[in-house]
Assembly symmetry: C2
Homo-oligomer: 485 residues x 2
């Protein structure tokens, strides 16, 4: 890769220091060349080649999962006419303050304003009305990977809160019955769960409270993860739309009996935040730590050259490269004219899972030194073992990253029935407590504990809590509260 | 694939009838399920799953070529601030009438209007100014695949003239010297040539006349192909930008001697039109004819079921499917409950290169009937031959499509020094004639012959013509004129 920004070094701030996370994050995005934040529009950034590679691999992973489960890929226009966007009243009420409007074409004012899609329901469902005629057309499951826009007034931050979300992977489905739509919600939750699992991103799924569901949905299941500063990040949502949008956009089908019925719909999406959380959760004081599945290079080889055996070392490196490539490993030999130490540093910053060091000594002994980015430890292997060992190590790294992240995540979930405890712990992580289920008490919790209600566990479970800490009535649910991004 | 629009039939208009091309094109896009034109914004359309698959394969082909030649992929924001877009005066003059403007965020008017990118020079080059410091950073070669927007006032048409171009593959490069930039223009022309060749799209490359070059460029090399109605379609452009944008956006580098110099730049792009031309040029009265490389399915197998041997035929089909998949062939068994005739029709419309028919007779004889979409002819092969024969046939189809298209294209190029001939032949195809080189005569030709000047041959060649048909002076160039899309 081209060294866009030179070999900038991460400031050596200690890891885990909460106050520093925000600084660490900005610095890693910059120095590992993920995104350039200097684009002159607030909240809009440039994906650099290395970041783009990671993004592509993450996208392809989800694309594969969606295709395997029968979702077909489409692509809708970016612009939505005002009348269409405003058709569903709850929906537009939820987005009104955040929509970018195109009002002019050339020097001429447009007859009708066009919205830059904040999300695509109102673009897609009028076409569903044309595509769906009978029960034989159902279920209909589509997805698209697009950019969406939100005129954010809160503090913007790359990949976390952007005015142009560059990679919204949104699926939309229509079904004949409510049960099938409920099944689809479950399938979506499964797809997303396995997707996050494979990236080692820990999460909990919650049914968002009424006052925080997707505008126009019956209910919303949201995935939240925990960032190093103790705040949660919403990384995916699944919405049961019921027949709400179907009524607005007249999406009907003819049943086997010949009646016209409204379809039941669901939609679900994942944004750039999946990359943000992956970076934040696995990274350390040396920079990125990438899950092998999505690392642009899985192995980098650094020849430690020495006069006399220079050529032999490079030949051996080429041999290893060839061997690993045959095993399907993405490998790069770094033969730049630069000290090995600087190369080590460079590729650690970039999060490459494995480094192979090859010097005069290894050449002589028929070995190679393998350095694991996740554990920061070296081990020596016989040369011939590499084609077996490297794929195993890559698998092990993926597992370890996932395990480590999950353990840390679990430690950030606190169960308490004491309001004082809850108040103290919100900000450290996710607080679970009892809830009578009333909106009044939910909102009071947000005020008193100083966090947001994430919702109740999905799938639903019996609560272990006895009382609602606000009103003292019987707890009907477990509720989760946290400071959120 | 989901049958989005049912199994609509193409009207049986004879192929090659010029007056009908426009109708044929619209009907093929609809019935082969490429794009849905019913989206309620003029000039903006929906990619359907089958069309999207083709689009993706075309995109991946070019992406691979760009990466192999050292271009790195990035992704820039969609919106460009007004001051930035207007910085280069020639450039904005060329786009002013066509730019969509975002003026409001939520209910608030923006401090500065934002343009939906019509093209990305003015978004990218200010970042080049930040990225490039010294000669060691050069050459810089990047590309991105994005949507761009033009408020077109001319007649819009899917994939040919759209208000949202959904798939603009644009590359931008910076170099230390003019010679290197000139070399880059050549590399770009080579990349595009091999790209079009592999899709069997015939073309000529011309240096556009001064009055039709890219706004802000020193010169423009454009690829034109010929549509079935005798009009040319511009399918790719390569621009030598010289130091023009570098001066505007202060893109400088430090030379080895320590001086600050402006870089030399080039840019080049290909839009959705590559798909339009591929469809138009290879298609016939039965629908699409897809080059095997980009066909979602390369082989479709239609079992001709008969009582008694039903299961055996399906088993054999599964066997063939497995055999071909091992050869890397994209194959589908169509076991829908539908007559074989309807299936034949369906997959011919969709342009699948090969169809394998398997019935009781073939089962008994140990053979299979293979139907070529390009030649509309059947041949019988022994069952065991299929893994060898099918890949060969696919290659042969690609070659034949290319050859056939090239032959037809050559027949649409006319050389004449008579103004009367030229006037008569413009509209039939591309007319080549002599030219003194003056803009005055060029513009007169456009008026008198009723076409547009495409430009002079690239690479430059000595003209065979003696006189400019307008002024009668010595012809310095060969010039090409055609009716254009």
């Amino acid at each position: 890769m081209h060294a866009f920004l030179g070999n900038a070094q991460l400031p050596s701030t200690p890891r885990g220091d909460r106050l520093e996370f925000s600084e660490w994050y900005a610095e890693v995005l910059r120095s590992a060349e993920i995104m350039d934040v200097r684009y002159p529009v607030k909240g809009m950034y440039v994906w650099l080649p290395y970041g783009f590679e990671i993004r592509q691999r993450v996208v392809e992973k989800l694309r594969r999962k969606l295709r395997e489960t029968g979702h077909e890929e489409v692509l809708f226009p970016t612009l939505i006419p005002e009348t269409q966007l405003k058709k569903e009243s709850e929906h537009i009420a939820g987005f009104e303050d955040e929509v970018y409007w195109v009002t002019h074409g050339g020097l001429k004012e447009l007859d009708e304003k066009l919205a830059l899609r904040p999300t695509s329901e109102t673009a897609i469902y009028p076409m569903f009305a044309l595509w769906i005629r009978s029960h034989a057309d159902l279920p209909l499951k589509i997805f698209q990977i697009v950019n969406t826009f939100r005129y954010e007034t809160k503090h913007t931050r790359p990949l976390i809160r952007m005015r142009e979300i560059t990679t919204f992977k949104e699926a939309h489905t229509a079904h004949a019955t409510e049960e099938e739509a409920e099944e689809q919600v479950k399938e979506a939750v499964e797809i997303y769960s396995s997707f996050f699992d494979e990236l080692g991103i820990p999460y909990i799924a919650s049914v968002r409270p009424e006052w925080d569901k997707f505008p126009g949905a019956e209910y919303t299941v949201a995935f939240d993860t925990l960032m190093p500063d103790g705040r949660t990040l919403q990384i995916g949502t699944v919405h049961m739309l019921g027949q709400n949008f179907a009524r607005t956009f007249e999406v009907t089908y003819e049943t086997e009996e010949g009646d016209q019925e409204y379809v039941y719909m669901t939609c679900y999406g994942i944004s750039d935040r999946v990359v943000a959380s992956m970076i934040a959760i696995h990274g350390d004081e040396r920079g990125l730590v990438l899950p092998p599945d999505v690392a642009p290079y899985q192995v980098v080889m650094v020849p430690i050259l020495k006069k006399g055996v220079r050529r032999k070392i490079l030949e051996r490196a080429a041999e290893v490269e060839e061997m690993l490539r045959e095993e399907g490993v993405r490998v790069k030999v770094d033969d730049r004219d630069m000290s090995p130490g600087r190369k080590f540093h460079y590729w650690e910053l970039k999060g490459v899972p494995l480094r192979i060091e090859l010097g005069a000594r290894e050449l002589e002994e028929g070995t190679a030194v393998v350095f694991r980015r996740d554990e920061l430890e070296r081990e020596t292997y016989a040369f011939e073992e590499l084609p077996d060992v490297v794929p195993e190590l890559l698998e092990d790294i993926a597992m370890e990253l996932r395990k480590r992240a999950r353990e840390k995540f679990e430690k950030g979930i606190f169960r308490t029935d004491s309001p004082e405890e809850a108040r103290r712990l919100v900000g450290e992580g996710i607080v679970e407590t009892g809830w009578c289920g009333s909106e009044r008490c939910g909102v009071r919790m947000e005020e008193e504990f100083g966090g947001d209600v994430l919702g109740t566990p999905y799938p639903e479970e019996d609560t272990e809590f006895e009382r609602c800490p606000i009103c003292g009535e019987t707890a009907e649910y477990t509720v989760r509260i946290a400071k959120t991004y």
